[in-house]
């Protein structure tokens, strides 16, 4: 099943970029969301421009809108929470909806929803969306082997990059085992998923976690045998199999990224 965090095998402009260029996009995204924003139009515009830029990259990378929608759905509850909490708690702005009066310290009134509060809540949502839109773009368009090569090219030791990769494959294995064990226990009338939360916490996880740990020990042992049998840990300097090249695409991408980034900064700081 395709998820927003799995690699999509295509041959697009974004796929062909050097992983470090794509990490640059993630880094600039982080900077963009860390800039302080007030409930103003220019803040909304600056964030929207970067979000639109990321969306264009998603489109070029061939990531379907459905996956963007999946991401949005996951975050929907958070968005509603942010908008409501800021709507009621934000100090300042004109009242839009008065449900009563419950003033709290700092000047906010829990009974009043203000326009500035709503806008600030919306801005926070866009910020979250901007933040989470960058990483899936990187993961969906970069094979793990290219990530490894990029990490190695940045001087990360081979053992660490291998640990990173094997932990990813082990994570998948844990999920698969977890689901298999839950299914196996359901066959003995033990349905963890339909239990109330307090009951789950009290007794539900032992029948799942004990077999999981024991199975993981066994798998870990097999993995060690498989690794050693392929000379892992040899004294030779490991050969870099995946070759990464910086091409005109990377130069173009860096130029466009910096341009859009500069535009966002200008809108945020100077646009009136």
């Amino acid at each position: 099943m395709q998820t927003i965090f799995s690699y999509i095998d295509r041959d697009t402009f974004v796929h062909r970029l050097h992983p470090v260029t794509k990490l640059g996009h993630v880094l600039l995204t982080l900077i963009i969301i860390l800039i302080p924003y007030g409930p103003t139009l220019e803040s909304a515009l600056a964030l929207s421009v970067w979000l639109a830029f990321s969306a264009v990259l998603w489109g070029i990378a061939g990531i379907s809108l459905r996956q963007f929608w999946s991401l949005f759905k996951i975050l929907l509850a958070t968005f509603v929470f942010l908008i409501l909490i800021q709507g009621f708690m934000y100090r300042g702005g004109e009242p839009l909806l008065v449900l009563g009066h419950l003033p709290i310290s700092g000047g906010a009134d829990l009974g009043v929803v203000t326009d500035a509060g709503l806008l600030f809540g919306l801005l926070l949502c866009v910020r979250v969306l901007v933040a989470v839109s960058a990483l899936p773009l990187f993961i969906s368009t970069t094979t793990i082997s290219r990530v490894m090569a990029a990490l190695n090219s940045m001087g990360v030791p081979n053992r660490f990059t291998f640990m990173f990769v094997s932990s990813l494959s082990f994570t998948n294995l844990i999920f698969e085992m977890w689901n298999s064990i839950i299914e196996a226990q359901k066959l003995r009338a033990f349905d963890i998923e339909s239990m109330p939360l307090w009951q789950r916490a009290r007794r539900a996880y032992v029948p799942v976690i004990v077999p999981l740990i024991l199975l993981l020990f066994r798998k870990g042992n097999d993995l060690e045998v498989a690794l050693k049998s392929r000379a892992f840990g040899s004294t030779h300097r490991p050969t870099q199999v995946e070759v990464l090249e910086v091409t005109w695409r990377d130069h173009l991408m860096v130029a466009v990224m910096l341009g859009v980034f500069g535009l966002c900064l200008w809108i945020r700081l100077f646009w009136k």
């Binding site: 690699y7 094979t143 085992m177 009338a189 033990f190 024991l214 049998s229 490991p238 050969t239």
Partner: protein
């Protein structure tokens, strides 16, 4: 060289000693001497031994950890600092040898079981070892996967200067592949020599817990009737074995005994429908969705022993999961005694239809065998005063009463499987489904659960559904076969009749049991072509006049 032996005979220990896993990973004490390609693995670090001797394990999942097939194959030589161009050349060559050419960029998770094991084999081939140690490389594969892996091993053998040592239980499949065989029993070598010599010693193999090839059993049984000096060697190819028997029949050394073939149990021999699958369709979500069951309809009757066969991916497991409520069909209905299962929870269904999984270790977690069984009984809310009685009953049924207070993980794999059966039986299901009861079992262990199922059927009139790739087992126990192919029921009928459909079975990469193939090869001599077991075949042969 093939190494045979029962579970615990020392096969894996031998592999670990040769590949240096002992003492580098597993501890132990050793007497005597081991020399692999001129070095003693005891005295060298494992990455040094790996340049001479590499090992492939039985579980393909545990051996693949890189994101793509190409990276997987490059991993070994890259660790040894082999230049990139040379690595890529070796990768291409290894992929071709194991029949995975063109799949360089494929994610290893997306490979089938047989492909994964071939990938594991290729991943050590790129190191160019002198010795390959394969520890039961086909034990977890379906017939197609087994065939693919053995074909790959044959290619490696023919195209590379590499020696291969392979442990296995599958005597029949490897007979035509190996130069020498070794039989281990309780840690000792009891036979060593060419396959036709070792595998013809039926009594010795039986005693060592190794399944003799069907042709060896037949030839051994008829050998006292042969003229002096006439000897038959076991054959990997049933047609050639049938040719030898035809020759003896023609020469008068053997004679056919006319006997009626037992009738297959008809619909009137069993009860009313207990499970009804009505036009069930199920698709797994994804882009695009994968339809695993396509309008499957099936009636299972009370007291039937049904064999469910087909390749991996044919829909067997999905069907079984739908029968126990783990998957809910998007279309169609499943009825248990007329009651729609979609209205019941998985727990409620478990008291009607029980499923015993391949691997008991996904279920067992308690501190004792009896607590393990009590767990299910608590879940269905059985009164405490009745639990003790039920625990005693099911432990006795599976023959584990003497270990009721033992920690389940201290039990042997076979006993853990029996305990998992007991835990399912305790819930009182009228239908018992067993998923591949022969997995990871040796010759003695493989019929253990099938025998148990047979007893339950005879004693309590329980209905048994058994998924298996083992055609000999299916032929011996099931009186009806359902063959799944691409999400549909391809064949459904009495076992004898289904095995007559050799052409249709070939489409699903399944073959009738060797005894049936031998009988078919003797049909021109008057042998009934639909025999199922060696015993049935031998009952129709006797000493000839000459």
């Amino acid at each position: 060289m093939a190494v045979f032996g029962a579970n615990g005979a020392g096969k894996s220990t031998l592999c670990y000693l040769l590949s240096g896993m002992i003492p580098n990973i597993y501890g132990g004490r050793r007497r005597g001497r081991v020399e692999v390609c001129g070095i003693d693995p005891w005295d060298h670090p494992i990455n040094e031994i790996a340049q001479r001797c590499c090992m492939v394990l039985q579980d393909p999942e545990a051996q693949l950890f890189m994101p793509s097939l190409e990276m997987e194959l490059a991993f070994g030589p890259a660790n040894l600092g082999v230049p990139r161009e040379e690595i890529m050349r070796r990768v291409e060559e290894a992929l071709e040898v194991v029949g995975l050419k063109g799949l360089n960029r494929r994610n290893t998770n997306a490979l089938s079981g047989g492909q994964k094991q071939r990938a594991a084999l290729a991943s050590v081939l790129t190191i160019l070892p002198d010795l390959l140690v394969l520890d039961e490389p086909t034990s977890q594969l379906d017939p197609l996967g087994t065939k693919e892996v053995l074909e790959a091993i044959r290619n490696v053998r023919e195209g590379h200067q590499v020696s291969i040592l392979m442990t296995t239980h599958k005597t029949e499949e490897v007979m035509g592949l190996v130069d020498r065989c070794m039989v281990l029993k309780e840690g000792r070598v009891v036979a060593l020599g060419p396959p036709e010599e070792v595998l013809s010693q039926v009594d010795l193999l039986e005693e060592a817990g190794v399944q003799p090839p069907t042709t060896a059993r037949v030839f051994s049984a008829v050998s006292p009737w042969l003229p002096r000096g006439e000897a038959l060697r076991p054959e990997a190819d049933p047609d050639r074995a049938a040719g030898s028997l035809r020759r003896l029949l023609g020469a008068g050394a053997l004679r056919l005994v006319p006997r009626e073939v037992p009738e297959s149990p008809g619909a009137d021999a069993v009860g009313e429908p207990i499970l009804q699958v009505q036009e069930v369709t199920f698709s797994y979500p994804g882009t695009p969705p994968v339809t695993a069951l396509k309008e499957v309809s099936l009636d299972i009757r009370q007291g039937e022993f049904v064999g469910l066969i087909g390749q991996n991916g044919s829909g067997k497991s999905t069907l079984v999961k739908a029968l126990v409520g783990l998957l809910r069909p998007q279309r169609g209905r499943i009825l248990f005694k007329g009651e729609d299962l979609s209205r019941l929870s998985v727990g409620n269904i478990a008291t009607r239809v029980g499923l015993v999984l391949q691997n008991p270790d996904y279920q067992l977690f308690s501190i004792s065998a009896e607590r393990e069984i009590a767990f299910g009984l608590e879940n269905i809310g059985l009164a405490p005063e009745r639990r003790e009685e039920r625990i005693h009953e099911v432990l006795e049924m599976v023959g584990l009463e003497h270990v009721r207070e033992t920690f389940p993980f201290k039990l042997s794999f076979g006993d853990r499987r029996k305990l998992a059966v007991a835990a399912v039986l305790a819930l009182g299901p009228e239908v018992l489904i067993m998923d591949e009861p022969t997995t990871a079992q040796d010759y003695r262990g493989r019929y253990l659960l099938a025998e148990l199922a047979q007893r339950l059927r005879e004693r309590d009139d329980r209905t048994i559904i058994m998924i298996s790739h083992d055609m000999d087992l299916i032929a011996r126990y099931a009186d009806r076969l359902v063959v799944m192919y691409e999400g549909r029921v391809l064949l459904d009928g009495p076992t004898r009749e289904v095995f007559r459909e050799a052409e249709a079975l070939r489409k699903t990469f399944l073959a009738p049991p060797t005894a049936t193939q031998l009988a078919a090869g003797l049909a021109s001599e008057g042998m009934p072509a639909d025999l199922l077991t060696v015993d049935e075949l031998l009952a129709r042969l006797e000493k000839g006049g000459h």
